[in-house]
């Protein structure tokens, strides 16, 4: 059987709102994924290191602080530098529409806003991981 999807859920920066990230984490776990949650107040470096150590398919960042344009591209860069090019970086939170294109161009996916149903997030992750595994399978 294919190994379950492993995902690191991270809060980075000073943002202390963790209701959403915990709801999503539990929904993903109930959907059969292996979920690791970092807790609050991580630096991008800490979150990426945890993702590397945990050998995850996905790093999901919850961000409601407004610092998404600073933190997310930085995380993508760190991930690429560490060879995590086949790991999906995705985010959810309060990200204005106009910033989403900027982030997508820098290979940050997901970008789910308030009101998103957890099943839509689950579908998205399953599709993306399937694509990523398809391209890197030996």
């Amino acid at each position: 059987m294919e190994r379950p999807i492993r995902i690191l859920m991270a809060k980075v920066g000073l943002d202390g709102h963790d209701r959403g990230v915990k709801v999503v984490a539990q929904a993903l776990r109930d959907a059969g994924m292996e979920v690791i949650y970092t807790g609050l107040h991580n630096t991008p470096e800490q979150a990426v290191r945890a993702g590397l150590q945990e050998d995850v398919d996905v790093i999901g960042v919850s961000i409601l602080s407004g610092a998404h344009l600073t933190l997310l591209p930085k995380m993508r860069r760190l991930m690429d530098e560490q060879g995590l090019t086949d790991v999906l970086l995705m985010a959810g939170g309060t990200i204005p529409e106009e910033d989403k294109d900027v982030l997508r161009q820098q290979n940050v996916g997901g970008l789910f806003g308030p009101g998103t149903f957890t099943e839509d997030i689950i579908d998205y992750i399953q599709d993306e991981v399937e694509k990523l595994r398809g391209t890197t399978a030996v």
Binding site: M9, R19, K22, V23, A25, Q26, A27, R29, V35, Y37, T38, G39, L40, H41, G66, P96, E98, G115, F117, T118, E119
Partner: protein, 156 residues
């Protein structure tokens, strides 16, 4: 109405009794143990998850989200902070650090550390440190060095 009030009261008492039990008869100790063990965080997260599931199943209504939701392109005016603000503030801090009396800052922070370690009233020492132009970060580093930093148990 009365029945609902009774029900709420009963549920609240259930929690109070559980917390009391966690503290082996002391409510305060129960609360402290509960925080250490992540009891409150877990209860809140569980309630949030159950609520989200009810919303997704349509058992809870949020107008505009799962009821009467319209797709429209409302332009929301967003306050954007120019990144220059950060550079400006960093420069101001550097200017302060360059112009203040470094020895006085060190003295005030050492005195603060001594006071915090010995559980004295820290306020006069804080005022002293601020007057010497110690930064909030430098002052908080003193508390962090003595007490450490609380990290919530990360669990889901």
């Amino acid at each position: 109405m009365e029945a609902l009030t009774d029900e709420t009261e009963r549920k609240a008492m259930d929690y109070i009794n559980r917390i009391d039990k966690m503290g082996h008869g002391s409510l305060l100790q129960g609360v402290l143990n509960g925080i250490d063990e992540g009891f409150f965080q877990r209860e809140i997260a569980q309630a949030a998850y159950e609520y989200q599931q009810q919303v997704e199943r349509g058992e809870q209504t949020i107008v505009g989200v799962n009821q009467y939701a319209e797709n429209n392109d409302h332009k929301i005016p967003i306050l954007k902070i120019d990144p220059k603000v950060e550079q400006h503030q960093v420069k101001r801090l550097q200017d302060v650090r360059n112009s203040r009396d470094g020895a006085a800052v060190k003295r005030s922070l050492d005195a603060l550390k001594e006071a915090v370690e010995n559980e004295k009233n820290a306020m006069p020492y804080l005022v002293e440190a601020v007057n010497a132009y110690a930064s909030v970060g430098e002052i908080m580093d003193v508390f962090r060095a003595v007490h450490g930093v609380y990290r919530e148990p990360a669990m889901v």
